[in-house]
């Protein structure tokens, strides 16, 4: 076992313990999560972070999925750091990264959850009298409703893609909560209707802005794929535990072949999903040219696998699984939402097929 793999196992064990404490949908204690160092993982050491990579964040994302945890980690950490990391260094950016590392929530990136892959920005900057103004709208933005500060990827007048840093209270910005069946996710809509934008708040990418946005969407899709993997793992574990003790017809239902074989199929799907997610994480960390395809595979496969596994978990839990109280529905809803968030399996496969022919 490599040192890195050992590190990840340790991280996973700590995360599982930390997240096992609460009820899945009750919300995670943010302070604990900050103390555990999860907010600063990818932030450079000179900005009070740990200087780790997405590989470690992926472990946390999977464990959050496994716990069906309610937390703004996706919007306020994974996407925020991703957006800032590819931004050219400037004081505002560095300050924000430091804030993220120190555990400040209330930061969101205006990525439309319905988009994936090579979609352009949902916002654009227009040159007008009195300077630049921001227009556009995005739906299903993770953790936007409680955000005080917003990072908005936008098309600049010169056609490049920039990041606009805004206070959520800026006039002309409208934030609306978008309740979804999965109560463990906080999504919302964001509309900018000619919002005046100061010069110092338009940040250019360190490299190609469009590539940075693409990478950010890939990161979002991959974080959700990790989450789905965690959801699926939790459902298999719970199902195995349940069918080992639940008796019908005079024996544990887990001794029936139909139940066994269903569980075996769940394990196979999860095992393959884990490989695909692992490949994608390594490709993104290495900034491979093919990282987008690896993410598409991981998101498509893990997204579908989690719904299949959670659905089968509900089936094998029988009536108990269908009660609100059992909490199985939380995982099924989260799996189904994940499946659609940042690109459906069909959309990701369409992108993969386009590469083949």
């Amino acid at each position: 076992m490599t040192d890195l793999a050992e590190l990840h196992e340790d991280l996973r064990a700590v995360a599982r313990e930390l997240l096992a404490a609460g009820r899945p949908d009750a919300g995670v204690d943010w302070e604990e999560l900050v103390r555990a160092g999860w907010t600063g993982m990818e932030v450079p050491e000179e900005l009070d972070g740990a200087g780790a990579t997405l590989a470690e964040v992926a472990v946390v994302c999977e464990e959050l999925g496994r716990a069906a945890a309610r937390t703004p980690y996706l919007g306020s950490v994974v996407l925020a750091v991703g957006a800032l990391a590819r931004t050219a260094g400037c004081a505002g950016r560095d300050e924000l990264l430091r804030d993220v590392a120190s555990g400040e929530t209330g930061i969101a990136v205006a990525l439309d959850g319905a988009l994936s892959g090579a979609a352009g920005p949902s916002f654009r900057l227009v040159e007008g009298a009195g300077g630049l103004r921001l227009h556009g709208r995005a739906g299903f933005v993770p953790d936007v409703a409680d955000a005080a500060r917003l990072l908005v990827p936008a098309a600049a007048p010169d056609g490049g893609v920039v990041l606009v840093a805004l206070d959520a209270a800026t006039p002309g910005l409208t934030v609306t909560a978008q309740p979804v069946l999965d109560a463990t996710r906080a999504l919302g809509g964001l509309t900018a209707d000619g919002v005046p934008v100061g010069d110092g708040t338009v940040w250019r990418a360190a490299g190609d802005g469009e590539a940075a946005l693409r990478a950010l969407l890939d990161r979002a899709a991959l974080a959700v794929a990790c989450d789905s993997l965690g959801v699926a793992g939790a459902m298999l574990d719970r199902t195995v535990a349940y069918v080992g003790v639940r008796e019908q017809f005079g024996r544990a239902i887990g001794s029936f072949q139909a139940v066994k074989h269903a569980c075996a199929d769940m394990l196979v799907q999860i095992t393959v999903a884990r490989q695909l997610v692992g490949l994608a994480v390594r490709a993104v960390v290495a900034e491979d040219a093919d990282a987008g395809a690896a993410v598409a595979r991981a998101k498509a496969y893990a997204g579908e696998a989690a719904v299949a596994v959670a659905g089968k978990a509900m089936q094998l839990h029988g009536g108990i699984g269908y009660t609100w109280e059992s909490g199985v529905h939380l995982f099924l809803k989260r799996a189904a939402l994940n499946r659609s968030l940042f690109g459906s399996p069909a959309e990701h496969r369409r992108a993969l097929a386009a590469r083949l022919g």
Binding site: F249, A258, Q315, I320, T323, W324, H329, K333, A336
Partner: protein, 400 residues
């Protein structure tokens, strides 16, 4: 009325009636309403149907029904085509309770309850128990004889609409020493009896249609026994299968009408980019495959009704229909959820009085497990089909 001409005329009559009587915006109006408003709406719709002679078409003529099977088929097809509200609340009363009374009840029991059901008496089924699950016969609720009464103790679960019920069809163990299917009796239980405690169960969808029913020293007069003592399992088996064909036909028609129309609408609605989902060959292929399966289901149900009526249904036919319907329902709702994407997650409530498809795709997807789990989970149905339909040998150690 039996010739094809009469049926066409009957179809036209029902269609006209639906046009005049189905509340046009009932789905919107029944979304997010209180339990009381739901009960009022169900009762009003039941009265409408009763007025037209459409409420209990399957009952014998002497009790207010008397429609031929062919007419019933037409009636349910037209109600589905018109997307009429379903008689959800009265379902057990009109079907299981009535079948039990008609097939195994005494004259007194029939006279007391059948007219009352037409006047709105609500029944609930008290069969399932937490520990029994799909192994229904292993139920633990006991009924101990004390003179002219039975004293009942135990716990029932998955009693649909239990909080609104007046009466309960109850299975309880009267001979704990007998083999598990030979010591069960069947009772009619007044839900207002002392010792009956009803608690709603919240389901995965967030709704609470089902209840747990706790029974503590509930006293039931021996006159409310149905069939002989200790023959309750056999009574339940006989009455459970009654009308199953027509019920399934109605569900298949519901899925094939409003359900499929919504699916087509979802697939043909242009997205923000102007493209319609169906313009993607993968969506078109899947939609056509589901249409094909739904057409097959409707034919299957019609055939099942015809063969049941002719006494030619096979021992596993009901299981084939239930298995295929429930899994097709689940696949269809899953596909609707995928096509409508994130938007499907923003419908937090579905209209009450609706069937298993309401256009709130994610909720309907969740709700589809109400079909693959209860009434013998899909796993049980497959075993029944293999053993009774194909004659494959039983597992050496299955309980008996």
């Amino acid at each position: 009325m039996s010739g094809p001409v009469d049926l066409d005329a009957f179809r036209a009559t029902v269609r006209d009636w639906c046009r005049a009587h189905v509340p046009p915006r009932w789905r919107e109006e029944q979304t997010g309403v209180s339990g009381e408003a739901y009960v009022r709406f169900q009762q009003a719709w039941f009265a409408e149907l009763r007025g037209a002679g459409y409420a209990v078409p399957h009952w014998p003529a002497e009790w207010g029904g008397g429609m031929s099977v062919a007419e019933q088929v037409v009636l349910y097809q037209e109600l589905a085509a018109a997307d009429a509200p379903r008689l959800v609340l009265a379902f057990v009363s009109l079907h299981h309770a009535a079948a039990t009374l008609l097939e195994a009840g005494t004259d007194e029991q029939r006279a007391r309850h059948l007219p009352a059901i037409l006047d709105g008496e609500i029944w609930v089924q008290g069969f399932s128990e937490p520990e029994a699950g799909s192994d229904l016969a292993s139920l633990r609720t006991t009924a101990r004889r004390e003179g002219d009464e039975f004293v009942v103790n135990g716990q029932k679960i998955w009693a649909s609409g239990g909080m609104h019920a007046d009466w309960c069809l109850l299975l309880a163990r009267t001979d704990p020493q007998a083999p598990k299917r030979r010591g069960i009796s069947y009772f009619l239980m007044d839900m207002r009896s002392p010792g009956v405690d009803v608690r709603p169960i919240r389901q995965a969808t967030g709704e609470s249609h089902f209840c747990e029913v706790f029974l503590t020293d509930v006293r039931i007069p021996a006159t409310q026994l149905v069939g002989p003592e200790n023959a309750g399992w056999q009574v339940a088996q006989a009455t459970l299968s009654t009308e199953r064909g027509m019920t399934m036909l109605e569900l298949a028609e519901r899925l094939g009408n409003a359900g499929f129309r919504w699916l087509v609408a979802a697939c043909t609605r242009p997205g923000p980019d102007g493209l319609r989902p169906i313009d993607d060959g993968a969506v078109a292929d899947r939609l056509a495959a589901l249409e094909t399966e739904i057409v097959g289901l409707r034919a299957l149900c019609r055939d099942f009704v015809d063969r049941s009526e002719a006494g030619r249904a096979g021992p596993a036919d009901a299981s084939v229909v239930k298995l295929f319907y429930s899994e097709l329902l689940q696949r269809t709702m899953d596909f609707g959820t995928q096509v409508t994407g994130l938007a499907s997650h923003t419908h937090l409530q579905k209209p009450l009085s609706s069937g298993w498809e309401s256009g709130a795709w994610m909720l309907d997807f969740l709700g589809s497990w109400e079909w693959t789990i209860p009434g013998g989970a899909s796993e049980i149905q497959r075993t029944i089909i293999a053993e009774r339909g194909l004659g494959l040998p039983r597992e050496p150690v299955m309980g008996s």
